[in-house]
């Protein structure tokens, strides 16, 4: 049986296995991903990347004696028809490779499944929710297991897609970080990507020839994601020049950002203690929105959401004195940290197309504090505490 590598050499099966495994070993050794006696959690979704990752890491750990302990960590998003099937695969993997497994679900962490979220938000922005929630879920699960690092199955195609996507969206902060093989070394649990230079095609070929057991359906909500455009482009470029994927990663690694560009600063979320670049982390914002019936809280523009909230408040507290914070009081107390966004706080006279609201929650927090309206707001404030001061201590212990 012969395999032709995307990089142009044709190899027989055994040589292909050898080349594949040695390349990953090379990556691990030179990037110094693992240290002796560390515990590594493998993010296992049951798909081809994580199955092959679990198999190869176990193999290399035995062959080259890294001395690490491997565990499988799986996240249940609650997508029927997709995740429940893939979880069965992960359970089979646990038996086949003899690695301990932990499954953590959105239901138990947040009280929401992806199906319920999609019912609320629709099909367009649901990937945002899933992505943000999964990241936290992986970290929390890893903490429960007391691991030192998380290894995910992101392959070269994924990283190339991410580079292109970040260029298209103008996200310079992510563009700088996305090609790093290990991220999160400061603060949160570090996560590494041993498959960074491995083509998706080769992973599939490896799994096929080794007859590994994996679940191969796409998430049912994925066709509408923006990432689809970047993926289609990458596939087309790969047809023209197979080495383009590594070329894109090389480009991503060589990019440097101008010194005076403002980049997000990492801090800690006030409510749950997780790392966050704003005062309240995205997951808490989104959860609050979901729980209070404003599902687009984490996604839509801030000023629009605040307006909706004000409308809700008016409805709640009846017609009596329905004058929420006016422009003037907000303007004076607003100390926007966001210097580049030189706009005022939102007002009722906002034109819906006029997109220049504040984009940091800390600013809105101060606005509410400076408010001098006389509405009976105690009930409303408790309900929509996301815009108010922290009332209860963080509920999740980090």
């Amino acid at each position: 049986m012969w395999a032709e590598r995307p990089r142009g050499n044709a190899l027989c099966k055994e040589c292909f296995f050898h080349a594949f495994e040695e390349e990953i070993h090379h990556t691990i050794v030179h990037a110094e991903l693992f240290k002796r006696n560390e515990t590594i959690a493998i993010g296992a979704s049951g798909g081809k990347d994580s199955t092959v990752l679990a198999y190869v890491l176990k193999l290399l750990n035995d062959r080259h004696d890294y001395g690490v302990n491997l565990v499988l960590l799986s996240v249940d998003e609650g997508i029927t028809g997709y995740r429940d099937d893939s979880l069965e695969t992960v359970k089979r993997n646990q038996e086949q490779y003899g690695l301990p497994l932990k499954i953590i679900s959105y239901e138990e962490l947040y009280g929401w499944t992806m199906d319920a979220i999609v019912k609320q938000i629709g099909l367009k922005n649901n990937c945002t929710f899933c992505g943000v929630f999964r990241r936290q879920a992986l970290d929390r699960g890893a903490l429960m297991l007391k691991v030192d690092k998380i290894a995910t199955g992101h392959n070269a195609d994924d990283i190339a897609e991410t580079v292109i996507m970040n260029v298209l969206r103008g996200d310079i902060g992510r563009l700088r970080r996305c090609t790093a093989i290990t991220t999160g070394t400061d603060g949160a649990l570090p996560r590494c990507k041993p498959f960074k230079y491995t083509y998706e095609k080769e992973i599939v070929m490896y799994a096929y020839f080794k007859k590994l057991d994996y679940f191969s359906t796409e998430c049912i909500y994925s066709p509408n994601a923006y990432r689809g455009f970047a993926r289609a482009y990458i596939k087309d470029v790969e047809k023209i020049r197979p080495s383009a994927i590594i070329d894109i990663i090389h480009s991503g690694e060589s990019l440097s950002v101008k010194k005076d560009i403002r980049l997000p600063v990492q801090g800690v979320c006030e409510r749950c203690g997780y790392i966050s670049s704003n005062a309240v982390c995205k997951a808490c914002v989104m959860l609050e929105g979901l729980n209070k019936g404003l599902p687009r809280l984490g996604i839509g523009k801030t000023h629009k959401e605040r307006r909706k909230m004000q409308e809700m408040l008016q409805q709640e507290t009846g017609a009596a004195d329905s004058t929420p914070c006016t422009d003037q009081s907000l303007k004076s107390s607003c100390k926007c940290e966001n210097k580049t966004d030189q706009s005022e706080c939102s007002s009722q006279t906002y034109d819906s197309d006029n997109a220049s609201g504040c984009s940091t929650y800390s600013k809105s927090q101060k606005c509410k504090d400076g408010c001098s309206s006389t509405n009976p707001r105690t009930v409303a404030k408790e309900k929509l505490s996301i815009f108010g001061k922290l009332k209860q201590p963080p509920s999740i212990d980090f």
Binding site: N9, H18, E22, H30, R169, H250, K258, S359
Partner: protein, 508 residues
């Protein structure tokens, strides 16, 4: 997926852009005649002001062009070049408010050989370009892309226009905005064109050896993407040399924002991420003595097309390698289709990409040795062991070596200076010094007499993107002369440095 400044990509709504009853958004009096950007309607006068202002602001804001400076303007004959030429003429004319003050010289590089144009087509194109350049009233030059292989001759290419239009006849050319009449001079020019034109054609055809060499080199590159990269590098080099030898201090190019967005993505896809910032910035400073400016970088192709339409500017269409090709012909062609398609659905795509490009650092290298020999961009190959380049190298080694030698490869010396693709597979150590044997019968294999540098040395002087092109060629040594000269020079310098290494004080 969330960026800090925008939480949402604005979706394109289904709406018909109806301009029949709209007033211009600036003056609000005149009826609008066109719509630009997302939904901005302009009348004729305001649009002219808008375009002119953007152009002048782009040049003036950076304060890079001084009074009386000689600037070489690259004219390719396409729509953006014609618009650039017209804008420069406008800006320099006496009637303009605060007129521009630099001395432009025009240059057209004939790339007909790239697509294999026949002689008749060639002549037709040249005639039209010639008339276009002459009507402008500025000194102009015509040369061939193959001249880049023979840079010595570039000095002899004189300006073609010396007998005809003088530089300051612009006032008489009556480029009146509102009436858009054709210049009076053009009629006279047509009559005389045949005589002068043939001289210019002769001037271009004289370089037959260079043409053959160029054809051979181009032919040896397998993929169209590689050919395009090669042509671009040569073009850049030719402009650079020409400008240097004829006393110009800056080069101005007419790339629009849409073209530059495509350029940025293509550069990222071909491994030229480090140069991507240079290619899309207003000022490209990769050569310390020559700056390449792009004043049209804030315009979209649509705006340029509308400007040309308003002023009835004639462009010359010159086919390129991917004209009439299918989408997957080359990476640049594919990227163009991708960006244009995405722009139709999400109108802010091009401006997002340009904004990303602006934030990237275009710091150029300090000394000549850290420039790529072919494209003069910064070298990006000095990366550590944990990098895409190292991974690619290792993968190639292990795929060609097989199982038994696999172990040797991992522990082998993978430092940047030593590695080339030949090292492991041939087992030949290129660093072994061979002394001159003393015989003078031409069989000397002394390593100090490297007349033909080996592949590894040549590849070391190229950046990642140019390496891909060079490796597609049959013989790396058939790269253009200026590349080989650079390689030899660097080799000599590194030998010199090795000899005096012990005496050099490390200032780190």
């Amino acid at each position: 997926m969330c960026s800090i400044l925008e939480d949402e990509i604005p979706l394109a709504k289904e709406r018909k852009l109806n301009i029949l009853d709209r007033k211009c958004m600036k003056c609000k009096e005149e009826p609008a005649i066109l719509i630009t950007r997302v939904n901005d309607a302009f009348c004729r006068g305001c649009f002219q002001v808008y375009v002119t202002h953007k152009f002048r602001a782009a040049i003036g804001k950076t304060k890079l062009v001084r009074d009386g400076e000689k600037v070489l303007v690259g004219i390719s004959g396409g729509p953006s070049s014609c618009a650039l030429l017209h804008l420069i003429q406008e800006g320099l004319s006496q009637r303009a408010h605060k007129k521009l003050r630099f001395k432009p010289g025009l240059i057209f590089i004939d790339e007909g050989q790239v697509v294999g144009q026949s002689l008749e087509e060639h002549k037709v194109t040249l005639t039209r370009i010639h008339s276009l350049l002459r009507q402008s009233g500025f000194p102009y030059h015509l040369c061939q892309l193959a001249d880049s292989l023979d840079l010595e001759r570039v000095k002899t290419l004189n300006a073609c226009q010396s007998n005809h239009s003088a530089v300051n006849k612009i006032n008489q050319s009556a480029m009146d905005i509102n009436t858009c009449s054709n210049p009076v001079e053009g009629d006279k020019g047509d009559v005389e064109i045949s005589g002068q034109d043939e001289n210019c054609c002769d001037l271009i055809e004289m370089n037959r050896e260079a043409e053959k060499l160029f054809a051979a080199q181009l032919g040896s590159i397998r993929s169209i993407s590689g050919k395009e990269d090669f042509v671009r590098a040569l073009r850049h080099r030719l402009l650079l040399e020409f400008a240097r030898q004829h006393g110009y201090s800056k080069v101005m190019l007419g790339n629009t924002g849409s073209q530059l967005a495509v350029r940025l993505l293509t550069d990222i896809s071909t491994g030229r991420g480090m140069q991507a910032a240079l290619e899309t910035a207003f000022a490209d400073r990769r050569n310390t003595d020559m700056m390449f400016l792009r004043p049209l970088r804030d315009f979209s192709s649509k705006e340029i097309a509308m400007y040309n339409n308003l002023h009835r500017l004639e462009c010359v269409f010159i086919p390129s390698l991917t004209t009439m090709g299918d989408v997957g012909a080359s990476i640049e062609h594919l990227t163009e289709a991708f960006v244009t398609g995405l722009q139709a659905e999400y109108p802010s795509t091009v401006s997002n990409i340009m904004r990303t490009g602006e934030k990237l650092d275009s710091s150029s290298a300090v000394d000549l040795e850290s420039h790529c020999a072919l494209c003069q961009g910064p070298l990006d190959t000095d990366v550590g062991m944990s990098s895409a380049l190292a991974a690619l190298r290792f993968s190639l080694e292990i795929s060609t070596m097989g199982k038994t030698n696999g172990e040797r490869c991992i522990k082998g010396d993978n430092s940047v200076n030593n590695t080339n693709d030949e090292l492991c597979s041939n087992g030949v150590n290129y660093d072994a010094k061979v002394e001159c044997c003393g015989k003078s019968d031409g069989s000397c294999r002394s390593s100090t007499q490297l007349s033909v540098p080996d592949e590894g040395l040549v590849l070391q002087t190229l950046c990642y993107g140019c390496r891909i092109v060079a490796m597609e060629m049959d013989d790396v040594n058939s790269l253009p002369e200026f590349v080989m000269k650079d390689v030899a020079w660097r080799n000599r310098r590194s030998v010199m440095k090795a000899e005096i290494q012990d005496f050099l004080l490390d200032d780190r």
